[in-house]
């Protein structure tokens, strides 16, 4: 069990809802008190459906968005209070890869310049040194020297995503947030990128926060998984055990709903999930899942459950499961 590299404690990110440009009438509580640990050389999966706040969480952890409350520790250092200069230094160690490879690259910059930006922003290097480094990185991600001078629209989605990964590993970061990195890719290309990410993790001791809505992918590549629902983490469990040992009703609903490309998978009887996802502006009182939960009891409607460790390294936020 490796050392913890990134610690997130009670992180909150609220977006004010404004009427008349100045009056704040409410808040979108996208992230509402999240705890998360990412260990060295491991992949922590973050799974949830649209609107649960996982994307916001990823961005807030790397301070692409400023947290409303809470703390994030990177290698023991509290990064939520760093100033601009220190934050810039930090960016060498914390990188992010986005979902859509085409739009996360500047359409008017060639591949070499895009990757070079990751280097030149932080250190001075000559043109040749940068060229050499770019070629080295391209080879690492499975591309060739000739791709250096291409433009994003001349490359496929998979190739572009490799460029984005190459850009992310410039200057040897320790932690990479991967925000749905394969959701926009075909299945066979997805396999290439997932295997590439695994290889890079082995080679460079990288830690990943892998955010996705696709349970099959997250289940495959992660070591641990956090399940997120409307701004909160409802369960944290080893990826190995999630298919059989999940306890939170929402997780189990997800598991029963996920279509698996395998026959005779021992799946739970389909759990009917009624209703719609609640709005993060006015989440239900008590447990946020209670209006849709098939196991709801009275206490769920009034008291919000805490994340409790029910077995070794398995946390659940549910009154019933505890």
């Amino acid at each position: 069990m490796g050392k913890v590299l990134v610690e997130v404690r009670n992180l909150k990110k609220y977006f004010p809802v404004r009427k008349w440009l100045f009056r704040v009438v409410g808040y979108v509580k996208a992230v509402d008190g999240v705890d998360l640990d990412v260990r060295v050389k491991s992949t922590h999966g973050l799974i949830g459906e649209s609107g649960c706040g996982k994307t916001t969480l990823g961005r807030t952890i790397v301070r692409l968005m400023e947290p409303t409350d809470g703390k994030v520790f990177f290698d023991g250092v509290e990064i939520t209070t760093l100033d601009k200069k220190e934050l810039r230094e930090l960016r060498k160690n914390m990188r992010i890869v986005f979902q859509d490879p085409f739009s996360s690259l500047d359409p008017r910059m060639c591949v070499r310049d895009q990757i070079a930006e990751g280097i030149r922003t932080h250190i001075h290097a000559s043109g040749e040194e940068i060229d050499e480094e770019v070629i080295r990185l391209l080879n690492l991600v499975g591309l060739k020297e000739e791709h250096m001078w291409r433009y994003p629209h001349e490359l496929s989605g998979g190739q572009n995503q490799r460029v984005a990964v190459a850009r992310a590993i410039t200057l040897n970061p320790k932690f990479v947030v991967l925000d749905e990195p394969t959701s926009a890719l075909d299945v066979s290309v997805q396999a290439q990128i997932l295997e590439l990410l695994k290889d890079l993790q082995d080679k460079f001791n990288l830690s990943y926060l892998f955010i996705s809505h696709d349970l099959s992918v997250v289940g495959h590549i992660s070591d641990d998984i956090s399940v997120m629902y409307v701004g909160n983490i409802v369960e944290v469990i080893d990826a190995e055990r999630i298919w059989e040992g999940a306890l939170h009703p929402y997780t189990r609903c997800l598991l029963s709903a996920v279509p698996i490309a395998e026959l005779d998978v021992k799946k739970e009887k389909k759990m009917e999930l009624k209703g719609e996802v609640p709005s993060p502006v006015n989440p239900p009182p008590g447990c946020r899942f209670h209006p849709r939960c098939p196991y709801v009891i009275d206490v769920c409607k009034t008291r919000k459950p805490e994340l409790v460790e029910v077995e070794h390294k398995h946390f659940v936020a549910c009154h019933k499961a505890v």
């Binding site: 992010i96 986005f98 859509d100 996360s104 690259l105 008017r108 922003t121 001078w149 291409r150 850009r167």
Partner: protein, 302 residues
């Protein structure tokens, strides 16, 4: 390293692949081809006017008594004016003036408007944005022609002043356009990615936002050259721009106005020149816009 360099040169072609597609689309559109040819003709005339014009000294305004108001003939294709000068030569020389005026106005407006717009758009919602946009709004609220007239009247007559006046009434449009572009580009993932890499805000604005925002401006400013020519001619027509004896088209239309019944050629030919030139720019701009639309490019009639 040699391999890298040689690959760069040969792959540089890819950079212009998009331009080549646009060019091939334009080639097939007769209107675009026609208007481009016309514009090139006007530019050619502008450059070589002193060599083509049969009576180029006429721009100096030396009267030629005895040649006044001659109708169009072989020796004077467009006739002569009140001083006896050859209108054909005047129109040819005037091409230089109009083209330069149009170009200068657009370039000036771009130089002022674009950076302001990009900065306003990128820092959307902040005081910087508000300040820039309020100033811009003031300028935009006034009809361009009136504004130009007011400024030109204040600065005094003269072609340079007319150009300045036009530019002043023009830049706000670019600012607004660039601001919209920058504001939408700001939300794009590659900007976020740059921020994630640690790139400074200013570097993001000028390295990422500006180049990407320029695309619609290219079309717009091409068409605008025509409109700028029109506006400066209008000012000259009103007496606020070029002064006699400058062979500016708008001025000539004005001077010829009172004689239109008897000596129609004096006002008509410069007027036609304005019309044809401005029209050509507009049609070309239209064609460019159609050619740049990626969806339209996919269709091809068999």
């Amino acid at each position: 390293m040699e391999s890298g360099k040689s690959v760069r040169r040969s792959v540089g072609r890819h950079k212009f692949a998009e331009a080549r597609i646009v060019a091939s689309v334009l080639r097939r559109d007769p209107l675009s081809v026609g208007s481009l040819a016309l514009i090139l003709l006007v530019v050619f005339i502008g450059i070589f006017a002193p060599l083509i014009a049969p009576y180029k000294e006429d721009i100096l305004g030396i009267p030629r008594p005895g040649f006044k108001f001659l109708p169009p003939s072989l020796s004077h294709l467009f006739g002569t004016d009140y001083l006896g000068r050859d209108v054909f030569s005047l129109v040819l020389m005037g091409a230089r003036i109009s083209l330069m005026a149009g170009l200068l106005v657009v370039v000036l407006s771009l130089l002022v408007g674009c950076p302001l717009g990009v900065i306003a758009g990128y820092f959307r919602g902040t005081v910087v944005d508000e300040a820039i946009m309020r100033v811009t709004d003031i300028f935009l609220a006034l009809p361009p022609l009136l504004l130009a007239i007011a400024i030109a009247a204040t600065l005094g007559p003269g072609l340079e002043n007319a150009m300045i006046a036009t530019a002043i009434s023009w830049w706000p449009w670019y600012t607004r356009l660039m601001r919209a572009q920058a504001a939408s580009l700001r939300e794009r993932p590659f900007v976020e990615a740059a921020r994630g890499l640690g790139v400074s805000e200013l570097a993001i604005v000028f390295r990422h936002i500006l180049p990407n925002a320029l695309a619609p401006i290219i079309v717009q400013s091409t068409m605008d050259i025509g409109s700028a020519i029109l506006l400066t001619s209008a000012l000259s027509f009103l007496g606020l721009g070029a002064q006699p004896p400058t062979p500016e088209w708008g001025l000539m239309v004005n001077l010829g106005r009172q004689h239109i019944r008897n000596y129609w050629w004096y006002a008509t030919f410069p007027g036609l020149a304005i019309f044809v030139t401005v029209m050509a720019f507009n049609v070309l701009g239209d064609g460019l816009r159609k050619a740049l639309d990626p969806r339209l490019r996919m269709r091809r009639a068999w």
